[in-house]
């Protein structure tokens, strides 16, 4: 069953076409990778799904309902959250608060209730903190609970972004280059985490990644973009031997020489 369908998605910036006519079907509870060289339009694609950009044409359907025209926060409320290529944490808030912000849309507390100190609101807040702490433990950041997010090391920041995203209890999680800048050990840990997410949290994962080892290892399905166009799609082993993909990555000569 497809949870997300993307139909003929095109985005133009002025005269520049960032993505053109992309069609994808993402299966529920799968791990899908979107790969391609720099400037292929991958992040633009993510931005359209999360409504940061409005597509020039085409449609995005979540469980059959269109997401086009929604505000970014509405998309999030529908169950799609993401991480960012250039980490976007709330640097001046604590690690725990970052996760609590992730839980924003699921928290039923209201500010009037907060001011009146209603007991059930206090309980909601207390429980939220415990839950957030559990998430921190899950992504291995519990010892930094009270640290400011901006002070974390790079790899930890990446994991916090993932933690914050899963705090929103998404149906679909978009990971934008989660392994960028990580050393092999950290990448291994990340791979484990992503696997774990799918099995434990029942979430569909779409990721953009350059680390081919990681992509080949964890993806169920791969889409390849180049110059804004979808040039290939298939299971990891199919992509591995796809000529156009190798061309896109290594240039035309590479194939000829082989």
């Amino acid at each position: 069953m497809n949870i997300l369908e993307v139909n003929h998605l095109t985005k133009k910036f002025g005269g520049l076409t960032a993505t053109s006519d992309i069609t994808m079907n993402i299966e529920k509870n799968s791990i899908t990778a979107v790969i391609g060289p720099n400037g292929a339009g991958k992040t633009t694609f993510f931005n359209m799904i999360t409504a940061v950009y409005k597509p020039t044409s085409g449609d995005i359907l979540l469980n059959g309902k269109s997401l086009v025209g929604l505000k970014p926060h509405q998309v999030s409320q529908f169950g799609i959250t993401r991480t960012f290529q250039n980490i976007r944490l709330f640097n001046d808030m604590t690690v725990l608060e970052n996760v609590l912000v992730g839980m924003h849309q699921n928290l039923k507390s209201h500010w009037v209730g907060t001011l009146l100190q209603l007991p059930h609101i206090r309980r909601i807040e207390e429980n939220a903190k415990i839950e957030a702490y559990d998430i921190l433990k899950y992504v291995g950041l519990d010892k930094y609970t009270n640290e400011n997010a901006g002070n974390l090391a790079y790899g930890a920041q990446r994991r916090l972004e993932i933690g914050r995203a899963i705090a929103a209890k998404p149906k679909i999680l978009l990971l934008d280059e989660p392994a960028a800048g990580m050393n092999p050990k950290e990448t291994d840990r990340l791979t484990q985490l992503i696997y774990d997410l799918r099995t434990k949290l029942d979430v569909t994962i779409i990721l953009i990644e350059h680390d081919m080892k990681l992509v080949m290892k964890i993806s169920d399905f791969i889409y390849v973009l180049d110059h804004g166009e979808l040039i290939a799609s298939g299971k990891p082993e199919e992509i591995r031997s796809n000529k156009r993909v190798i061309e896109a990555y290594l240039g035309k000569g590479a194939v000829a020489n082989d």
Partner: protein
Amino acid sequence: MLAHIIQNLPQVLIDGLTLGVVYAVVAIGYTMVYGILELINFAHGDVFMTGSFIGATVLFLFMGMGFLTALPALIVFLIVIIIAGIATGLLGVGIERVAYRPLRRKNAPKLIALITSIGISFVLEDSVRFIAELKTGNYIVTAPSIFNHRFTLSAHDWFPFFNNATFQGSFILVLAVTVVMLVSLDLFVNKTKWGMAMRAVAQDRDTASLMTINVNRVISVTFFIGSALGGATGVLFMIQYGTIDPYIGFILGIKAFTAAVLGGIGNIRGAMFGGVMLGLLEMFAAANLSIITHGAMGAEYKDVFAFIILILVLIFKPEGLFGKAVVEKV
């Protein structure tokens, strides 16, 4: 009602043009700095004010030394405007060094830079007030009047539905000097190596620095030119209106910024256009608002209109009338 408005049009146009070119040149200072640093330099209006005071001081000095009678007024004027321009240019560079560069180095949020610029504007206003008051006992300074010959534009003879309009010698001077300044700035920005470097830095600071452009120096030059133009305009303002005080910079600065936004911030020709347009609009409003509204609203509302224009432009066409829309990078 309409007849009244039309009769007055030549005079309103002349007055609006005078004020408009002043706005235009001050607006350029805002637009240049914004184009390159994305910073609203609140202190720019006060640099303009400081320029007018430096001009007045030099003029008084010359008068004390008897130059004013010995030399033709035009030469005296040119010397004054050049001195004031250079002095304010250096002031602008100094402000950038002291107040903005350290923040840039620290990568501080924009909000902080805005706040320092407000601080600088306060310091300039009060320092000038202090010096003026210490010297004269009153901070409202009246400059010796030159170029106050009166001309009459006999519009009525050519078009009977117009009234005649009058203007002062200084009007021609203001107009001529600003046109010279604007044209040479335009040439500078578009035709010289420094101008190209400036445009490059405005486009993308990081890339420009990779292309061996000394970004800090380009920023300094930008501040120098913007501030020098502002200071020179201060002198023009002093010549045209005769009286200056340390607080002329604030409101005029805001209006000039409005003009810059109107023309599309970061766009030098847009700022010129915006300035002139705002001057004309304002003068038209002051002269005709009560006629149009039958006395319900008078000239005192003209600033409300200026601000409403600002807000409307920012909301509906934030790129200005001449600017291009930018997409934020995610």
